[in-house]
Symmetry: C2
Subunit: 147 residues, 2 copies
């Protein structure tokens, strides 16, 4: 047992931390924002005005999303009170999705993220190129040194 203490303690720490992260509102929101489709969906819903969009409209507005992912994203957003789902029991059935006030708040936040991204992407891009260039230069130096 004593030989496993280090690994066991690490595992325990991980579990405890994971539990903490699950309860941490910030982590939750960050995971949400980072989700591949969430940003697109609330963006599209935001652009559509408060009128809402039908399921198939959403699918068309976001090329490349599968039904599964669209439904899954919509469901989780609905569960968190960020989008509202309105079923009109006509034939064929019609379902509209719209941002709730809370969802609009998230949309505003996302817009702020977008602004920052647009404003600083140039710097980030430049930093990447500089980093990659330096890295290539180091490798080149190493190679020429060896040769």
């Amino acid at each position: 047992m004593a030989t496993m203490t280090a690994a066991a303690r690490r595992a325990e720490a991980r579990s405890a931390y994971d539990a903490f992260l699950r309860d941490c509102p910030t982590s939750l929101l960050m995971a949400r924002i980072g989700d591949k489709w969430v940003g697109l969906v609330v963006g599209v819903l935001r652009d559509s005005g408060g009128t809402g969009l039908r399921y198939s409209d959403l699918g068309r507005a976001i090329p490349g999303v599968s039904q599964k992912m669209l439904t899954q994203t919509l469901r989780s957003l609905e569960r968190d009170g960020l989008v509202s789902r309105t079923v009109t029991p006509s034939v064929p059935a019609r379902v509209d999705y719209a941002l709730t006030p809370l969802g609009e708040g998230l949309g505003d936040l996302l817009a702020a993220v977008k602004d920052w991204a647009d404003g600083h992407f140039g710097e980030i891009h430049a930093a990447r190129e500089a980093y990659d260039r330096d890295r290539a230069a180091e490798e080149g130096t190493a190679v020429s040194g060896a040769a």
Copy 2:
């Protein structure tokens, strides 16, 4: 071939969209924010003041992060010019990480996200409970109807 058109077009749309997303600064930043460890790392670095932290300090400050993930996160952050890496060639070697001005900008953004999360988590949590309750009630209704 005509029978594959629908699938082919979908695949093509996916590829084009994926390419677009890769070039989209907003998507890039969202992916970054959503990364499990990025938020923690810049948060810790931010709290530490501008003095920076050593690699092992970071590891200790974030229980549950593996060396691999810590290094990987730090590298990608460094590549994007968000953190600086300073090597002091003493024995044993010492490496310090700190937020760059750009990284502090990201930190501010993250703080805004955190504020929103803290301010609205109550609503989200309530929405979840309401959703889950409704869902359970529907199932219950279905069952009682069947029975």
